[in-house]
């Protein structure tokens, strides 16, 4: 088997928070990501899901070393990125790219779209007719080559996102981190961008790390799905597994919280409504970080941190009471599980 495009092992990212609270500088250390591991193969998509504060975006930034990881290892095509010298890294940047969430902030308002897409060629010193290459890229993402002379404000959100994708594709990367690429778009526009990403992957064989909070989109686009909660990976499995047989109580609750666009299903569904909200990462709960909101929590959850172990082949869960057998959840939030 060929080696994976990306292999992340025990990634840790700690922030020294220095918040100026008006006049006072407050110092605290926040572990935004603690011990996250996963692999992405060529042409594959890993969906990274979680709510705000789960650290999914931080993982994405660390993978590209836009943020300096505090620990662990990130291997890109077998090469260790952590600790790699800047100059060496610059060469590798050709092969890994990022697309951002906010289509308004991700393009320099003062430069034309053509200049934005040509920037990768300039930075990496790619020879050739940049104008033509930009035109080709614009066509690839479904825009017209003569759009190159326009400024970002002349485009709609969906079009801007396509421009961002064109820029990321310019250097023919092996890996693209997509950081909530469609969550700022209207649903009718979002579909087009998701399709584009799908097509590009089939055509170019690029691997994606797809970061999102929208579980429906993630299910649609991902091969593997990793669920994060408060900086930890709680479940990692193929998309089908995660959605059909979620084993971690958090994943189960998350899936049950997502409304289905079908009133009939909605009425029949049993929901797990989680209590409370994600705790502060400055002071995470002891043991299992989810235990404060977990309907299954027991004494052991506060004492012992559950490890991410294979519940079944290819399906890893970090829970003392992981159980992927279909559960019945009653309206009042209690569970019933087949015995045996």
């Amino acid at each position: 088997m060929s080696e994976p495009v990306l292999e992340v092992t025990d990634l840790v990212k700690t922030f020294q928070v220095r918040r100026a609270r008006g006049v006072r500088v407050e110092k605290a250390s926040v572990q935004a990501v603690s011990g996250v591991s996963f692999k992405v193969d060529a042409g594959q998509t890993l969906g990274l899901v979680g709510e705000s504060g789960s650290g999914k975006t931080t993982v994405g930034r660390c993978v590209l070393r836009l943020l300096e990881p505090s620990g662990g290892s990130i291997r890109f095509k077998g090469q260790e990125l952590v600790g790699m010298h800047r100059n060496e890294l610059r060469g590798l940047r050709k092969q890994m790219q990022i697309v951002f969430q906010d289509p308004y902030a991700s393009l320099d308002p003062k430069r034309t779209v053509g200049a934005a897409i040509a920037e990768p060629f300039e930075i990496q010193g790619v020879a050739g007719d940049h104008g033509k290459m930009v035109g080709d890229l614009l066509e690839l993402v479904g825009l017209a080559p003569d759009h190159a002379g326009r400024f970002p404000h002349e485009f709609s959100g969906g079009q801007r996102q396509r421009i961002g994708i064109a820029r990321a594709l310019a250097l023919d990367p092996a890996l693209i981190v997509l950081d909530e690429p469609v969550s700022a778009l209207d649903v009718s526009i979002q579909a087009g961008v998701v399709n584009l990403l799908d097509d590009l992957q089939n055509e170019l064989g690029v691997a994606y790390v797809f970061i999102a909070h929208d579980l429906a989109v993630v299910r649609h686009i991902s091969d593997l799905v990793a669920v994060m909660y408060l900086g930890k990976l709680v479940e990692l499995a193929s998309a089908a597994e995660i959605y059909d047989r979620p084993a971690h109580p958090y994943t189960q609750a998350l899936l049950s919280a997502v409304p289905e666009p079908d009133p009939e299903i909605e009425r029949q569904r049993n929901r797990i409504v989680l209590e409370g909200e994600v705790p502060s990462p400055i002071n995470p709960p002891s043991g299992c970080r989810f235990r404060t909101r977990c309907p299954k929590a027991q004494a052991i959850c506060a004492e012992q941190e559950p490890l991410l172990v294979d519940e079944s082949p290819g399906h890893a869960v970090a829970c003392h009471f992981a159980d992927a057998t279909p559960v019945t959840v009653w309206q009042d939030g209690t569970f019933e599980r087949p015995v045996g």
């Binding site: 609270r21 008006g22 006049v23 006072r24």
Partner: protein, 330 residues
């Protein structure tokens, strides 16, 4: 809060020491003591100059000299300025003169700040409530024009108008244009004093008005566009209440911070105005001392200024926290 203030006050001490040390060096070099002494006392001999330098701790290393000055200064704080060295000119004691100057300046500064800040804030609110209207444009433009007139220019123009042209046209002077009292006046006279203050206060206040009207206007406009103003309106409370309880208080937060830090601006305006109106305040005191290279006068003056700046910075922080519950001080 109390702990924060205490800690900041403790912090103020090293800051004060560091800044005064730098000021000591700057003034020691800048005044060129021996030259200054000679200028003020043309018949002084070498020995006299050396004695002056020794007394004022202007010899030896900077650190040692500073320490010497500091001990004298601190002693002076407890004996009514007795231990401070005497002025370079006429060997007058520094403290009594400075005390009077401070009182005069304080009176002028407080009056001008009060007038300036209230009128400025009022105008700012007045303008912001109808953005884009005539009254907004005129307040904004007026503030811009007032801001572009340096205080000494307005002072000189007012002097020309009230002291010279008025008497030429109408045969009497309307307002006095210099001093605290007419020359030769003895004793206290409130009305005369106030009359002498009108023009200087006006000059300083105009600058303050210009600045605060613009701050307040910008800040209030910002607040008026915020979401919580929409919420307030959606409650069905009166527009007056919406403005008073929601808009004005919130827009004061940035203004107050600016105000306390802007103390330098007000002091600067005072110095200039006092000079033009021959008003015997700190500004006049400073400029005379500076012109003479009067080290014994300059240092206490600088200490007062530095202390003011540091204290007002602290005041800014405290008032900020008091107005904005998101800021916690401890």
């Amino acid at each position: 809060m109390a702990r924060f203030v205490l800690r900041r006050l403790l912090w103020a001490i090293p800051t004060l020491l560091l800044v005064t040390f730098l000021v000591y060096i700057a003034i020691r070099i800048g005044t060129n003591p021996s030259e200054a002494y000679q200028r003020s006392n043309p018949r002084a001999n070498e020995a006299k100059i050396r004695e002056y330098e020794e007394l004022n701790n202007l010899t030896g290393s900077y650190l040692k000299g500073y320490w010497g000055w500091l001990t004298d200064f601190v002693k002076g704080l407890f004996d009514g300025g007795e231990s401070w060295q005497r002025s370079i000119k006429g060997r007058r004691p520094v403290w009594p003169e400075m005390k009077d100057a401070m009182a005069n300046s304080l009176r002028l500064g407080l009056a001008a700040s009060f007038v300036g800040i209230t009128v400025g804030l009022g105008l700012g609110i007045f303008a912001a409530l109808r953005p884009g209207s005539m009254r907004d444009t005129s307040v904004n433009t007026g503030a811009f024009i007032a801001f572009s007139i340096p205080p000494y220019v307005s002072a000189v123009l007012l002097q020309l108008l009230f002291a010279v042209m008025w008497s030429r046209w109408f045969g009497h002077t309307l307002l006095p244009t210099s001093g605290v009292y007419p020359p030769g006046h003895q004793g206290f006279d409130l009305w005369l004093m106030l009359k002498h203050m009108i023009l200087p206060v006006f000059v300083v206040a105009i600058q303050i008005i210009a600045v605060y009207a613009r701050y307040m206007r910008a800040s209030l406009l910002e607040v008026l566009n915020s979401d919580y103003m929409r919420t307030a309106r959606s409650k069905g409370i009166s527009e007056r209440r919406v403005l008073m309880t929601h808009a004005v208080r919130n827009s004061m937060i940035p203004v107050v911070t600016v105000a306390a830090i802007d103390i330098g601006g007000i002091l600067g305006g005072l110095i200039i105005t006092e000079r033009v109106f021959s008003y015997p305040g700190m500004g006049d005191f400073f400029l005379t001392a500076f012109g003479n290279g009067d080290f014994p006068q300059l240092m206490p003056f600088m200490v007062v200024i530095v202390t003011c700046v540091i204290m007002f910075n602290l005041l800014a922080d405290v008032s900020y926290a008091w107005l904005d519950p998101r800021i916690r001080l401890d």
